[in-house]
Amino acid sequence: MNLVDAGLYGLLGSATVAIVMAIVLTGRVRNVIAGLAVLATGVAAALTGLATLLGYSGTGLAIPVALPLVGDLDALVLAPDRLGGFFMLLAGLVIAASALFGIGYAHGPAASRTGWTGFAAFALGVVLVPAAADAITFLLAWELMALGSTVLLLAEHATRQAVRAATIWYAVMTHLSFLLLLAGFGVLINAAGGTSWARMVGIAEPTASLAFALLVAGFATKAGLVPVHVWLPRAHPEAPSHASAAMSAAMVKMGIYGILLVTLRLLPNGPSWWAVVLVALGAISALYGILQASVQSDLKRLLAYSTTENVGLITTAIGVGLLLHQSGQHAAADVALIAALLLALSHAAFKTVLFLGAGAVLHATGERDLDQLGGLASRMPITALTFGVGALGAAALPVTSGFVAEWVLLQALIHADAKTDRLLAVVMPLTMGVVALTIGLGLLTFVKAAGIGFLARPRSQAASEASEVGFSMRLALLGSAGLTIGLGLIPGPLSQLLAGAVGASGIATTGLTGLELGGLGVVVLNPLALTALTLVLLAGVLVVNGIASRRHPRREVELPWGCGGERTSPRMEYNATSYSEPLARVFGGSLHTRRSVEVEHPDDAPLLVSGIEFNQETVDLVEHRVYLPAARLAERFGDFARKLQNGSIHRYVGFSFAALLLVLVLVTR
C-alpha cells in the first residue's frame, strides 16, 4: 500500500468515525470528537492530495459495490490524478480549518446529531469529488456533497424563516447542476462506451461540444457563475459559518475542478469558442460579483458575492489559458492556467479566513449587518487581525496569496501576444480591463468590510459587548490566515508543484521561495525578498519616528472634536451604506439600488421635521429579471395543471376514457 491509497483509506475511515461519533455522542463531547474526526478527514485528504501532487500515484481504490443498472461498465474507482490531488489538498485544508472552527462555533441545531452528520458527509463528499476516477463515483460524491450541504444549510430552519427560502433556492440550483452533469456525463459515457476518465478520450465533435455545454453549465451552477449564481448570496449568509466557509471556499471550487477536468483532461483541444465562452462567463461573473459585493452591508452576503467574483476570475484565467494554447502561445497559456490554480488556492485560503471571521463576529455579537458592527478591533483582536489578513488577500494586496495569484494572471495577460490573432486582439485587452476594474472594486469592498466592521466605535449594543471567541476558533482563524500569508510570501515551490498538475512548463522556483515565470522571459516575483527589503526600509522610518516621538511626546486630547458640541454618537460614523454610496451612484444603472427618503412632519406644524427615514436596498438584477419571471411562469403552469386535476372522479374516468380512445385510434390507423 502506498501513500495515496493509505491517505484514501485514512480519509474514508476518519469520515466514518466522524459520522458514527456524531450519531453516538451527545452534547459538548460530540462537538469535540466529531469535529476532530472531520478535521482528521480534512488533514488526510490534504496529505493525500499533497502526495499525489508530489508524484506518488496510488493503484486506486476500487469500491466493491454492485450498482444496479451499471452492468458491464467500469468499476467505481478512487484514484486522484495530480489535478485532482491539488483540489483534494485545497478542499482538505479548508475542511480541516472549518471543522476546527466548528468545534467551538457549532451550537444549537448546527451542533445537533443531524448537524454534525451532515457536516461529516459533506466533508467526505467534497474531498471525494476530485479523487474520483470515473463518472459514476464522481456523481455519487457530488450528490453526497450536495445533500450534506443542504442538510447543513437547513440547520436553523426552525428559528429563522429566511433559512427555508434559502434552502429551496439552493436545493433547486444544486439539483439543476446535478441534472446537467448527469446529462453531460451521459453523453460522454455513451460516446466513450465506459465510465472511467481513462476511457473518455478522443470524443469527436459535435458530441464533444454538446457534452462541454451541458457539463460547463452544470459546473458553473455549482461554482456560482453569473447567471446561475443566485443561490450563493442566499445560502451562504443563512448557513452556519463553518459550513459557509467550507461551501464557499471548498465546494464551489469543485465546480472549477469540473471545468478544468472537462477542458484539460476529458475534452482537450476543444474549439476556440469554448475558451471564449469561459472567458465571457468569467469576466461577467467577476464584474457582476464584485459590483454587488461592493454595495452589500450584510457581511456574509458581501462575502458570497465576492465568491462569485473570484470564481469568475478563475474561470477567466482558465479561458485565457485555453485560448492562448489554441493560438500556439503555450508559455503564456501555461502561466494563465497556473494563475487559475493559484487563484483557486488563494481564494480558498482567504475566503476561509473571512467566512470564519464573519462567523466569529456573528458568534460574539449576533450581528452580520456591517451597519451594526464596528469597534471590534479592540474587543476581538485575533479575529480582527486575521480578518484583516483575509481582507488583504481578497483585495489582492502584497504579502498575501491574492496578490501573487492576480500578479501571475496579469503577467499572462500582459505577455500574451494579441497581435497575431483577431480574436485575441479583442479578448485580451477587454479581459485585462475587467481584471483591473475587478481588483480596484475588490479593494474598495474589502476596505469597507474590514474598516466598517472592525474599526471606529461600536454602532450597536451587541458590538460594544463583544468579546474574543474561544480557543479552537482562534486557532482555525490563525491557521488559515497563516496559510494566506505563507502562500503570499513563499509562492515558488507550490507553483512549481502546480505546474505538474496542469502539465505546464517554464514555472520555476527562484531563490528558494520566489516565483519565476521562465516561459515569459525574465519575470520574477520574490515576495519574501521584497517584504524583507520593505521591512528594512521601514525600520529606518521607525527609528526616526521613535527618536522624534521621544523628543516630542504624544500630546493628549481630552475630547474628540464635535464642532463645539459633544455630538460624537456612533450614528455619526461612516457606515457600510454610506461608504458604498458613491459606487451605488456611479454603477446605479447596473446595480438597481432602490432608495426612498420619507420626511415626517408634526401634525400641527407642517414646516417642521419630526423624523426622516432613509431606506436603500439593492436588488439582484439577474434574480429579478430572469428567475422571478421564470418562477411566475412555472406557477402559472402549475395553476393550469391544477385545473385539470380537480379531484373529481368523473373527470379522471373521462381522462382515462379519452386516453383509451386516443390509443385505439392511433393503433388502428
Binding site: L559, W561, G562, G565
Partner: protein
C-alpha cells in the same frame, strides 16, 4: 500683470510691515510657555460673545501690515490642529459649552490667550441676562491682552510670549 512688473512693484514697495513694538500684556503667575511650542504655534480662535471689535484687531494682526505669521503664529480651522486657543468677548449663555468643548478638544499642552477687556469682568456687558460670565470665570487664562479693543501689536506681543520669537 507680467512677472517683471510684479517684481518691480515688489521691489518698489519694499517691506510695509510694522516693526516690532512692545505692548502691555499680562501673564498668569508662574506661566512658562511649553517648550514644544517654541518657535511655532497654531491658533484656534473662539468668539465667545464678542462685539467683534477684537476680531477686527485680530484680523489685522494676521494681515500683511502686522503679519503675526512672521513670529510663527498661524490661524487654523480646528482645535485638533491648534496649540493656542484665543478667546474674545464675554461668555454668553449659549457659548459656555462650546467654549469648554473647544478647549478640551485642543491637545495638551495648550495655551489660552484671552483678548480684550470683556474677557475680564465683562466690560459694558456685565449683568446682562445673556451673559454667563467672563472668560476667566470658566477657564484658566494663561495670557491676557488688555484693551478695548487691544491694538494688533498687543495681540502679537501675546503670541510672541508663547513662541518666544
Amino acid at each position: 500683470m507680467s512677472l517683471i512688473r510684479l517684481l518691480s512693484m515688489i521691489t518698489r514697495t519694499g517691506t510695509m510691515t510694522e516693526p516690532v513694538a512692545d505692548a502691555p500684556i499680562e501673564t498668569r503667575d508662574g506661566f512658562v510657555p511649553p517648550a514644544c511650542l517654541r518657535g511655532s504655534v497654531q491658533v484656534r480662535h473662539v468668539d465667545a460673545g464678542s462685539c467683534n471689535g477684537c476680531e477686527i484687531e485680530l484680523g489685522a494682526a494676521f494681515g500683511p501690515v502686522y503679519d503675526a505669521e512672521r513670529f510663527g503664529a498661524r490661524l487654523v480651522a480646528s482645535p485638533r490642529h491648534a496649540d493656542v486657543v484665543t478667546v474674545t468677548g464675554v461668555v454668553t449663555q449659549n457659548m459656555v459649552e462650546p467654549l469648554l468643548n473647544t478647549i478640551d478638544a485642543t491637545p495638551n499642552p495648550r495655551v489660552i490667550v484671552s483678548i480684550g477687556d470683556c474677557t475680564r469682568g465683562c466690560g459694558v456687558f456685565a449683568g446682562s441676562y445673556a451673559v454667563a460670565g467672563s472668560v476667566d470665570d470658566f477657564v484658566e487664562v494663561d495670557v491676557h491682552v488688555p484693551g478695548c479693543p487691544p491694538a494688533p501689536e498687543a495681540i502679537i506681543a501675546a503670541l510672541r510670549a508663547v513662541t518666544r520669537r
